[in-house]
């Protein structure tokens, strides 16, 4: 009582409201913390496809171990095998989850409607109750399932034809004989059709790349040759040049352009490469590039083209600041991209005491797909 009184007496209304607000926020945090629901999964699930060529008629072997830990029954009368793009089983539709957010989309080309159960080990006694293009229901007289590794081999399954997508078999077992009612275990196995060497079933991935003094849109022509003459070195002024490159791809992995080479050098004498983005300063030993429009000096252009998902790396995207490091990525696209035209700006500054010589470099711009 005394404690309550002290608390009450010692707290101004402002503090009281503050404490109440904090308590409310903490309570809300605790109340709304959603716990992941526990789902009992089959153990040691795997899928072996004897021939993963797209569209091939082949044998599938599904392996699993029944999991009896925490299940409401160990009596198994049926197994459902649902073939979908999305490996995640659907949540039960409820007022909180009124829409099935994991609808099963049948992988294009897949057909299990003529599959036969050719072998089974572990928990056995199953036969095919029903089958459609993308679903097989196995049934048996309901009986207890032990936690032993089991395999089910199916012949005459026709593979999906799309090699750009993995696909899954959603597995679930039931005490009923027709895969109805509440499931006991669930889980998915994942696999993928692999392109046959001589079989092109999809649009082939293409990577387009060009480099020159000037390049046309879509790399359909170049001009100005493959070298850039920067003029005579002069400690009072910055030597400048530009070149262009174009890159684009229809591959979902996108592309990456990396610059390889050395700084400018004449024998053992070198002009220092700028290791960090730095402004051009005549009279200093500097060699650097960037891929954006500059105003000091007036040089270069911003990337051009309708692709909206391309990216110039941060160190090479600062106007009026230049850098160069062998092996740096200078531009990239994270996925499919129209041909984008990049203008590379080069600057060279030299100190007054630079040793005489013809300073040169060879830069290799390398465009690669991403993995």
């Amino acid at each position: 009582m005394q404690k309550v009184k002290r608390l009450a007496l010692g707290m101004s209304p402002q503090r009281l409201v503050l404490v109440q607000t904090v308590c409310l926020l903490v309570s809300a945090f605790v109340i709304f913390t959603v716990q992941a629901s526990a789902v009992i999964r089959f153990q040691n699930r795997s899928l072996y496809i004897n021939n993963s060529t797209p569209g091939a008629s082949t044998q599938y072997k599904v392996s699993l171990t029944y999991n009896n830990q925490g299940v409401y029954t160990t009596t198994v009368g049926s197994i459902d095998l649902l073939f979908c793009w999305d490996p995640i089983p659907s949540e039960q539709v409820s007022i909180y989850n009124p829409v099935d957010h994991h609808p099963c989309v049948t992988p294009a080309g897949l057909d299990v409607s003529h599959a036969t159960l050719s072998a089974q080990t572990g928990e056995t006694g199953f036969t095919i109750l029903s089958q459609t293009t993308n679903e097989i229901v196995l049934t048996r007289t309901p009986g207890p399932a032990a936690e032993t590794p089991s395999t089910y081999t199916f012949d005459n399954i026709i593979n999906p034809v799309d090699t750009t997508h993995s696909f899954a078999i959603r597995l679930s077992d039931y005490p009923s004989t027709d895969a109805s009612g509440t499931l006991i275990n669930l889980g998915s196995v994942l696999s993928q059709a692999t392109n046959g060497v001589a079989l092109e079933t999809q649009v082939p991935g293409i990577l387009v790349f060009c480099v020159a003094a000037q390049v046309n849109d879509n790399c359909l022509g170049t001009s100005g040759g493959n070298y850039t003459d920067m003029g005579t070195l002069d400690p009072t002024k910055t030597l400048m040049a530009t070149s262009q490159m174009g890159a684009g791809t229809n591959a979902t992995g996108g592309y990456s352009i990396v610059a390889y080479g050395t700084t400018m050098q004449a024998g053992t004498h070198v002009i220092s490469a700028l290791s960090t983005p730095t402004q051009s300063a005549p009279g200093n030993s500097q060699f650097g590039i960037n891929l954006v429009a500059n105003t000091a000096p007036l040089l270069g252009l911003d990337p051009a083209g309708s692709a909206t998902n391309t990216h110039v790396d941060a160190n090479y995207a600062i106007p009026n600041e230049f850098t160069f490091h062998d092996g740096d990525e200078v531009a990239s696209a994270p996925n499919v991209s129209f041909v984008k035209k990049y203008t590379v700006s080069y600057i060279v500054n030299t100190p007054p005491d630079i040793r005489a010589g013809v300073y040169t470099t060879t830069l290799t711009f390398l465009c690669t797909g991403r993995f």
């Binding site: 790349f209 790399c219 040759g225 920067m230 996108g254 390889y260 990216h311 690669t368 993995f371």
Partner: protein, 358 residues
């Protein structure tokens, strides 16, 4: 003799000075430096099997021929991204996963202007080769030139991945998962727990591959609001990106995407950009469920739940104003009530309970 030596010395000096100050202008162009290639090849090769595949290389330049030199090189990963780190040095040591010893490839090619050429190459997997993943890259070098201060060279690369089936060691561990902020569709960015500037447009997870095969996990991220309503179902790794051997790979996915059709040689594709997901201020829960596993090997599943808040500044300001108004309203009402009931007013610093007890 002395005079001759003097003339020669003078001539050499003039040559040296000329070489020092004059730019090199005579140069030969290396022809076309405009090519189209296949960016990636994937194979399943059994031990003892030889596969022969075709490489189609296009010269997009309508004026000059394309002179190419081809060679196989090894590569590994660059940080957490899908950018390969190529071993370009001629004498670079081979990686344990190299395909170079198994590959036969033409060395030089000339492709006339505006045409394409298809060449065969083979990969022969030795009979005793163990199950696992092997990868190297085909380097196409073009456009070399002599002359100028800066000579340019263009190179393209085809990444080649081969899997030898069998029992393999697969082991991926989740390093990080959550909402992800990126201005460039995931090329760069960072994980975010509370976002006050803009709605997180991406989710991401980092998986470390400690097995002996490259992996391409697939699955979903379900995002729910603080009331348990599902607001997004994000398909992850739809581009079939790979985590290479030893790599910690970051997989990013847009919560909501917009697509742009792209017409390229041979067909139409779509590129993807992240769009605003339309999140309302509040707390969100993201549930990750991804699977991975090679053909015939155990399917592994990784699950994780993460939370993030979207609390924009305008929302925080609005909440502060509302709380301020509530506090002000509370005391205003209390004063009015006290004045009406007891004929007195609240005195600052005395405490509300004490006043009520009086």
């Amino acid at each position: 003799m002395k005079r001759l030596f003097g003339y020669l010395s003078a001539a050499l000096a003039v040559l040296f000075i000329a070489a020092s100050v004059m730019p090199v202008s005579a140069a030969t162009s290396g022809g076309s430096a405009s090519l189209s290639i296949s960016p990636r090849k994937n194979y399943v090769i059994n031990p003892g099997q030889t596969i022969t595949d075709k490489l189609t290389i296009g010269n997009l330049d309508n004026a000059d021929d394309l002179h190419l030199s081809l060679r196989m090189i090894d590569f590994t990963f660059t940080n957490q991204s899908g950018t390969p780190k190529l071993n370009l040095a001629q004498n670079a040591p081979r990686t344990p996963w190299s395909l170079i010893p198994f590959t036969t490839l033409p060395k030089d090619l000339t492709i006339p202007a505006g045409t394409s050429k298809t060449v065969n190459y083979t990969i022969t997997m030795p009979k005793n080769q163990g199950a696992g993943s092997y990868y190297s890259a085909i380097l196409y070098q073009a456009g070399g030139a002599n002359g100028g201060n800066v000579a340019l060279s263009a190179s393209g690369v085809t990444l080649v991945f081969a899997s030898v089936p069998g029992t393999v060691n697969e082991n991926m561990t989740l390093q990080k998962f959550g909402a992800y902020n990126s201005k460039d569709n995931g090329t760069t960015g960072s994980f975010v727990f509370i976002d006050t500037n803009e709605q997180p447009k991406m989710v991401a997870y980092a998986l470390k591959n400690q097995g002996n095969v490259f992996e391409s996990p697939a699955g979903n991220v379900i995002i729910k609001d603080m009331f348990g309503h599902q607001v997004a179902n994000v398909l992850t790794n739809s581009t079939q990106s790979l985590a290479l051997l030893g790599q910690t790979r970051l997989f990013t996915s847009c919560i909501k995407t917009v697509q742009q059709k792209i017409q390229t040689e041979g067909g139409t594709s779509k590129n993807t950009n992240c769009a605003s997901p339309g999140l309302k201020p509040g707390r969100y829960t993201a549930s990750l469920d991804v699977l991975y596993g090679q053909n015939g090997n155990q399917t592994h599943e990784i699950t994780k739940v993460a939370t993030f808040w979207y609390l924009p500044w305008w929302f925080l300001a609005a909440v502060a104003i509302v709380i301020g108004l509530l506090v002000w309203g509370f005391f205003w009402t209390k004063r009015k009530l006290q004045a009406a009931v007891k004929g007195t007013t609240y005195r600052k610093g005395k405490g509300v309970h004490r006043l009520w007890r009086k």
